[in-house]
Symmetry: none
Subunit: 213 residues, 2 copies
DNA sequence: TTCTCCGTAATGTTCCCGCAATGTTGAAGC
DNA sequence: GCTTCAACATTGCGGGAACATTACGGAGAA
């Protein structure tokens, strides 16, 4: 079975390491990093499913597809809950296995998130969430918006007008120096927190966020 | 079929938005962010598979599980290659669907293990089961969903809107502060249980779960 | 029935934010 | 240098919006 499968996969330019025992599987998984693992339930030295938690515990998070003759629901559920990514009962069509392999490999390894870092400060733009040394930083809304605008243009100056647009929606009309007030309060907090960044003033133009010297 | 499925999933504390046409599906997927998408091939206005490339092109990368009566291999392969993550032929056992859902959801939530821990609280994300000091914690459905959303983003803020999406399907219309009420009740319980965690509110933004200092 | 849960609404509380008063800085001109 | 003025900084305050809390009644499940 395995050699027939190897041939079929080889035709699709997939490179395989084939082992027959749990011991060998463990060792191989430890030594190398695989794009995916095909796991048969019947191994020479035991039940293949038992391998899954072991591998996961060992920080091996390659996708695992379980191949089995026992195509019963309980087994499938058990396998999936143990940490398998997919399950195929024999007999199966090789083309489908390949399709499932592709599906499993396609999954994004990491969630892309746009995080901006300045000094010890970080800012997750998609969640509007600042953090200092990894710990979340809780800020009032307006100050948060100020910080967001400054960090998005890290190191470059932000026009006073641009800042106002970022902080206030178009309809609200501001007729005081409340923007300055927010900048001031934010500045004070960054000082007290010793955040390692400072808000500089460009007279007549706007503001600018820089790592403290 | 769909309503039976909804009921079954609801029993597992999974919140569902159910639509019947491709147009509605497109809109829903655009408007909200889903943990997973169950896609039937027979929709009122066309072939469900066609939706997959559209969604993927629209930067929607929620895992997609295709449900279908045509349990033929060609269809499965096509679906998987179009960008689906899994494929189930009808008739199917609901438990297996849930297991596959769990398998598919396991990836993005956390890399190493399925249980999230904050303070003395733990949460098994794939089974929606919270526990305190190892002992299971029984919570009403809505409070459970609130806690789940907060713990999945452990330490980071959860938008008010995101929280509402996690707790309510979009067909239920909420016109009161019931969400606040649930947060309040959950907070009280966590207090009384001395769980070592606290729900902070970020005015104008949302909430955040943190270990009590 | 009885019990739990949930949405609603009334009521209480917090704290953000715009405002304004006052202080500080810095560039320009002599 | 000194003066002057405008731009900016800082801080307290009051109103009000956002949030918290709790009781109540209906609905559904045991």
């Amino acid at each position: 079975m395995a050699s027939a499968l190897s041939d079929a996969l080889a035709k699709h330019n997939i490179v395989i390491d084939h082992v027959t025992s749990m011991a060998d599987a463990r060792e191989a998984a430890d030594m190398r990093s695989y794009d995916a693992i095909l796991l048969d339930r019947q191994l020479t030295d035991g039940e293949g499913l038992k391998l899954i938690p072991e591998l996961r515990a060992g920080n091996i998070d390659s996708p695992i597809i379980v191949l089995t003759a026992h195509n019963d629901h309980e087994g499938r559920i058990r396998g999936l809950d143990l940490g398998a990514d997919d399950y195929m009962g024999k007999p199966f069509v090789v083309e489908e296995l390949i399709a499932r392999l592709r599906a499993v490999l396609r999954r994004p390894t990491l969630l892309s998130s746009d995080v901006i870092s300045v000094g010890r400060l970080a800012f997750d733009a998609s969640h509007m969430e600042p953090s200092l040394d990894g710990k979340p930083l809780i800020l009032p809304r307006r100050e948060l918006l100020v910080l967001a605008a400054l960090m998005k243009r890290n190191g470059r100056t932000v026009t006073r007008e641009a800042l106002a647009n970022a902080v206030y929606s178009f309809d609200v009309e501001i007729q005081s120096n409340s923007l300055d007030a927010h900048v001031s309060r934010l500045r004070k907090k960054l000082m007290n927190l010793n955040a390692g960044v400072a808000i500089h003033t460009i007279r007549g133009i706007g503001y600018l966020l820089k790592v403290a010297e």
